[in-house]
Structure formats: structure tokens, C-alpha cells
């Protein structure tokens, strides 16, 4: 049960967003730009960064929700998503994405943990300044989303079979207000 009375039974952040639409709108807009922009990093790469940071923050709802989205974009490769969560250095992903995940993992600890050599390594592996910018902001944004969800004890479905339907809804229609203002998809 959430720490506050949200007056709805939507899962995770959706319940909090429905409780306070005035803040939900910019939060959804931020997610839309950061996670669905197709320039530079792919949607799959963006969701993998979000999944890794959410896993490090131990936010069950977020790392499963965004892991499911990454999985959709990666043609259902659930094992790969799980390896990025736990051991990305040995995952079958590009060196560029590995270097960006290193930066994201540092941001999760603290902004100051990011070192010039982390940036140099990402650049060496082909990351552009915009890729690095987006990686830092995705990681920082999930330090917000994860704390919002767990800090208010948002309703977290423990049945993983409920996650794909919501992920498909986002993949098809984006992070608009429909995620917290319309009937929730069940399958």
C-alpha cells in the first residue's frame, strides 16, 4: 500500500501520476524525450540504461517495467536484458554502450563519481557528446523516478506476467498522459 492515499489502483508511478497530474505532465514529457528520441542512441539502448540504473537503485517496479520495454525493442532477448542489469561488462552489447553504462552506473552513485577517463573511454568507443549528455540525464532521471516510486511506497505488482502489457502500451503510444488517465492494459 502506498504511504499516501492515491485514490486509484494503478501500478507503480502511474498511480502517483494520476494523484498529481500537474507534476505528471513534465515527468512524462521528460521520459518521452529521453527514452523515445531516435537520434543517436536507440530506444532499446535508452531503456537498457534506465533498467540498469533502476536495478542499482533496487526499484523493482522500474527495473522490471523498463527491462520489459528494452526486451520488446531487443526482439524478446530477456537474457540479454538481465545480463545488462547484473553484469553488463560481459553482455553481448557494443563497447560504446558498455562505456555509457559505466557512466550511468557512476551517476547512480553521485554526479561527482563520473571521471574524465569515463568520458574519454565512451568517446573512444564512438559515443558523441549528445550520447553522453543523454546517458547522464537518463541515469539522473531514474534516480528521480526510482525514489519517487519507492519513496511513496507505490503499488508494485509482484507478478511479472503483468508487466508486458504495460510495456507494449508504452512502446506503441509513448509516455503520454494515457498511461495514468485511461483504463490500464491487462494483457
Amino acid at each position: 500500500m502506498p504511504h499516501i492515499e492515491v485514490n486509484n489502483d494503478f501500478a507503480g508511478i502511474r498511480g502517483l501520476m494520476a494523484f498529481r497530474p500537474e507534476t505528471a505532465e513534465p515527468l512524462a514529457a521528460l521520459a518521452e524525450v529521453l527514452l523515445r528520441d531516435n537520434e543517436g542512441l536507440t530506444r532499446g539502448e535508452r531503456e537498457l540504461i534506465a533498467t540498469r540504473v533502476s536495478y542499482l537503485n533496487d526499484c523493482f517496479y522500474c527495473h522490471n517495467s523498463h527491462g520489459e520495454l528494452a526486451c520488446l525493442y531487443l526482439d524478446g532477448d530477456r537474457d540479454l536484458v538481465d545480463q545488462v542489469r547484473k553484469d553488463y561488462r560481459h553482455a553481448a552489447i557494443s563497447d560504446k554502450l558498455k562505456a555509457l553504462l559505466t557512466i550511468a552506473s557512476k551517476v547512480q552513485q553521485s554526479g561527482k563519481a563520473v571521471q574524465p577517463e569515463d568520458i574519454a573511454a565512451a568517446r573512444q568507443a564512438g559515443a558523441t557528446d549528445k550520447d553522453i549528455h543523454d546517458t547522464v540525464l537518463i541515469a539522473a532521471a531514474f534516480c528521480l523516478f526510482n525514489r519517487y516510486v519507492d519513496g511513496l511506497g507505490a503499488t508494485t505488482p509482484t507478478d511479472l506476467s503483468t508487466y508486458p502489457a504495460r510495456a507494449r502500451q508504452v512502446a506503441e503510444r509513448g509516455y503520454g498522459s494515457h498511461i495514468y488517465s485511461t483504463a490500464q492494459p491487462v494483457r
Partner: protein, 183 residues
């Protein structure tokens, strides 16, 4: 020097905001809704104080000075009072309710799971509403983002604290929406 070429020499968060306006827009809209919108039972000063306290816990020089100066402006106090709150809110003359909310904010800074039902109950007993608790958690969470954005890209920050105090009245008057990042 910032980790990436921002194409401008603006201080703090304004550098990456000018670099990437597509993300700057929702970041500023969130700040406006959380910190400045007057449809809120927490005052602007109280909300800026929560942002300041979390930024101080995250050791983000730029953010704690921008928002500390705004808190000081709204609360009509001096910076030494803001500094005392950052050092130990419990030892100040703040209301018990605000102290309880700051304690929740400090837990959020560590991690969402650090917030206990005991902390929530205490805040409620002292008069905090669900919406005030919601906004406290989201302000604290949001500064865990803003602080990491500013320091994760190694943006530069003016070291003279008076710079921030001098700018506060302008930000208070203009708000976080549609202001000129270059002024």
C-alpha cells in the same frame, strides 16, 4: 570545464539546458510545478528549502546556492540561517512539520526505500497532508536528478556565493518557465 562541449559558457544547469532545449523544457516545467506554483499549501520558501537541503546532502554546490538563495529570498532571512538548516534542521526554529518533511527528504536522498512508515506517520501527526508528503518526496527525488545532471556533466559554478543571492529576486519574479537562459 564540462565533460562535453556544451557550446556555451553558462554556469551550472543552464549550460546543458541551453545545449539540449528538448529536455530543458520538461525539466523547467517540473521545477515550476514543484517549487513555484502557488496552488500549494507548502510555501515557495519551504519548497525551495527542501530542494536546498537535498542539494546540500548531495554536495552540489551550484544547486544548493541557487535554491538556498531563493529560499533566503522567500523566507526573508539571511544565508547563515539557510546554512544552519543545511547543517542540522532539527536544531533550528523551523516548524515541527517542516522538520518532519525534511527528515523524509533526507531519507529519499539516500534511497526511496529508506523512507519509513514511522516518518510518514510522524509528518501526518504534525499536520502534513498527503499532497504535502507527495510533493516533499518528489522535490527530494527531483533534486537527486538535477544535482546529478549538474555534477555528472562537470558544469562550472561561480564560487562567490553573493552571485546566487543577487540573482534570486529575478528567478523568483520570472519563474522557471520561459526565462532567458543566457541572462
Amino acid at each position: 570545464m564540462a565533460h562535453i562541449d556544451l557550446g556555451n559558457d553558462l554556469p551550472g544547469i543552464r549550460g546543458p539546458m541551453a545545449y539540449r532545449p528538448e529536455t530543458a523544457k520538461p525539466l523547467n516545467e517540473l521545477a515550476e510545478a514543484l517549487l513555484r506554483d502557488d496552488n500549494n499549501t507548502l510555501s515557495r520558501g519551504e519548497r525551495e528549502l527542501i530542494g536546498t537541503y537535498v542539494s546540500s546532502l548531495n554536495d552540489c554546490f551550484f544547486c544548493q546556492n541557487v535554491h538556498g538563495s531563493l529560499a533566503q529570498h522567500y523566507l526573508e532571512c539571511d544565508m547563515s540561517y539557510i546554512d544552519a538548516i543545511k547543517a542540522n534542521p532539527a536544531a533550528t526554529v523551523l516548524s515541527d512539520k517542516l522538520k518532519a518533511l525534511l527528515s523524509i527528504a533526507a531519507s529519499v536522498q539516500k534511497g526511496g526505500r529508506s523512507v519509513t512508515t514511522g516518518q510518514i506517520e510522524k509528518a501526518r501527526t504534525l499536520g502534513a497532508t498527503d499532497r504535502e508528503i507527495h510533493d516533499t518526496v518528489l522535490i527530494a527525488a527531483a533534486f537527486c536528478m538535477y544535482n546529478r545532471y549538474v555534477d555528472g556533466l562537470a558544469t562550472w559554478a561561480p564560487q562567490d556565493r553573493q552571485f546566487y543571492v543577487d540573482r534570486a529576486p529575478r528567478r523568483a519574479a520570472e519563474g522557471y518557465l520561459d526565462y532567458d537562459l543566457h541572462k
